[in-house]
Symmetry: C2
């Protein structure tokens, strides 16, 4: 490089910076190329595949798509930790078989209690308090607990390739949304910091609050009234309710995301993009939902991905890193 | 003006343009001044009243605040017109006293049927069809019906001062939301064009859809499942659910907006703004909710406005124009 060129490069901010790969945590495989190709097509003005900026709405599942869902989904881990934290004030809880199972890490008994058991535990930990108090409890939990295997806090466990993908899409004029089975209030505590997604673009399972005046202001208390489970066929319903238009891309990892992917793929106006994260990396994360043989949570969506041309990310092959290596290390 | 100054002025785009009053449809009274003062304070960096841009969320009621709600709310007018449009295919409807009352403009009988009657009419006109079909019916209704008194279509009837206010707030970095008792899908058909507000920032009464696959794609059918009436104490609940943070300003016109104003005023972090539109102009629009004596839909909120220092807009005194005079004319 001659001196003049060097001076210009420094003045202009450096070509190395300008050309830094925004998806550097992805290996240069077909998965990465399919993303880049679709974004280039969607943003190329005048082309048949161009999508106007006010239609560039893209939706992401959270658990298993943006952060792990093993060995327990992190919100279930929060429930377990919350019950343990409050247990000393409630000696009577030990007599309750379900709560005692939580306190003694007997997860088999908890799993056996099914949806009814889950609703009981959700009610104990997610209702009867104000929205502000709930947010505080989640924030306190995040700073006081770490994932046992990776040694980092849960809000440091966003997948690095997916966080880069969110940035890359936003830099190309897309509006990024979370459409998840996780609790809407739970996710909103961390979504801005973890993913750069503001609260109103985070949609999850929800129940209606109860508003009241207090001596020094107003409050909304959390209840289970009108509980809505934002999973499977309810995901497109939630997208319509909260977002009010059909997405142009959808990113998921399980059969619970299938309808969201179908709803997106059937967008009558634009060439859409679908992607499934396939958990194939036991060493750096977890391996499950192997196919074939069909098993686990990702069966029908994987079959449909082949028919519809959705991208399937093989975590082991397609991701250069899984977590930010500076903070999360495999033990 | 000397020649050099003139040249500079032309080069810089013209001082006349730069200084055009963004609230020109408002008279220069205390109401307008209170708005301008609050916006100046909220956007003055380094001041004690500064509000960071990512917290500048402001909420507006729709019926009676952004457009009229007389002689019927426009959504009720849509229901009446829809039933009349479909009646030729349903001769049996004439035998139903409630529907027959709609068909014969016997609004007293309709009013007497109360909430139960309204739910029946809502179910007839707002459910059993896909969201796309519903949107089309609303759009068709907008182009084929005009307000009898003002001679313009309903989506031309946004109050000019309030449309200017929405622009003015957005130009100052505020994110504008509608929080209305009106139907969420109904309002979203017209909100972008009328108010510059995208669908996801329009919140209203809603019910859950039903997703299904079809031969040529997917659909969401409208139902009355989980119906939520976005009024009064439900408005703060909806704000928390959809927006996920407390507003810094709220604009309404009735007691149904009181809790939204209270919830906003109790924002612990910022100096907030509250405003009520008071319908005092029988000549250019409608006069109702006069006070004293207490009457109609605006009673408690008007009393609380005085105690809390909320701005009360006297439409007759404070607004230079009500509608865009080029399209809506009093007959």
């Amino acid at each position: 490089m001659n001196k003049t060129l060097l001076a210009c490069t420094l003045l202009l901010g450096g070509s190395a910076v300008a050309h830094a790969d925004p998806l550097s945590a992805w290996n240069d495989t077909a998965a990465k190329q399919s993303i880049e190709q679709w974004v280039q097509n969607a943003t190329k003005e005048g082309s048949a595949t161009f999508i106007p900026q006010d239609k560039r709405y893209v939706v992401f599942d959270n658990d298993g798509t943006l952060w792990p869902e093993a060995p327990l989904t992190f919100q279930i881990q929060f429930i377990v930790d919350e019950i343990k934290r409050q247990a000393p004030e409630h000696p009577e809880w030990k007599k309750d078989p379900l709560i005692n199972a939580v306190l003694t890490n007997d997860l088999k008994t908890v799993a056996k209690a099914g949806d009814k058991g889950l609703i009981k535990l959700l009610t104990m930990t997610h209702t009867g308090i104000t929205t502000e108090e709930f947010d505080k409890r989640v924030a306190d939990w995040l700073v006081s607990h770490k994932d046992k295997r990776f040694g980092c806090s849960y809000d440091q466990m966003g997948y690095q390739p997916m966080r880069q993908l969110l940035d890359y899409l936003r830099d190309n004029g897309f509006k990024t949304w979370i459409i998840s089975g996780g609790g809407i209030d739970f996710m909103r505590v961390m979504s801005q910091k973890m993913y750069g997604i503001p609260p109103e673009q985070v949609v999850g399972s929800f129940a209606l609050g109860e508003f009241s005046l207090t001596d020094n202001g107003t409050q909304i208390r959390k209840t289970m009234n009108g509980a809505f489970n934002d999973d499977a066929a309810n995901k497109p319903v939630a997208i319509h309710l909260f977002m009010g238009q059909r997405p142009v891309a959808a990113f998921g990892n399980s059969d619970g995301d299938l309808q969201m992917l179908q709803y997106t793929a059937a967008n009558p106006d634009y060439k859409t993009f679908g992607l499934l994260v396939h958990h194939t990396d036991a060493e750096r994360e977890y391996a499950y939902d192997s196919h074939p043989p069909a098993s686990g949570k990702l069966v029908n969506a994987l079959t449909e991905a082949k028919a519809k041309g959705w991208t399937v990310v093989d975590m082991k092959q397609d991701w250069k890193t899984v977590f930010d290596p500076a903070v999360c290390k495999v033990k």
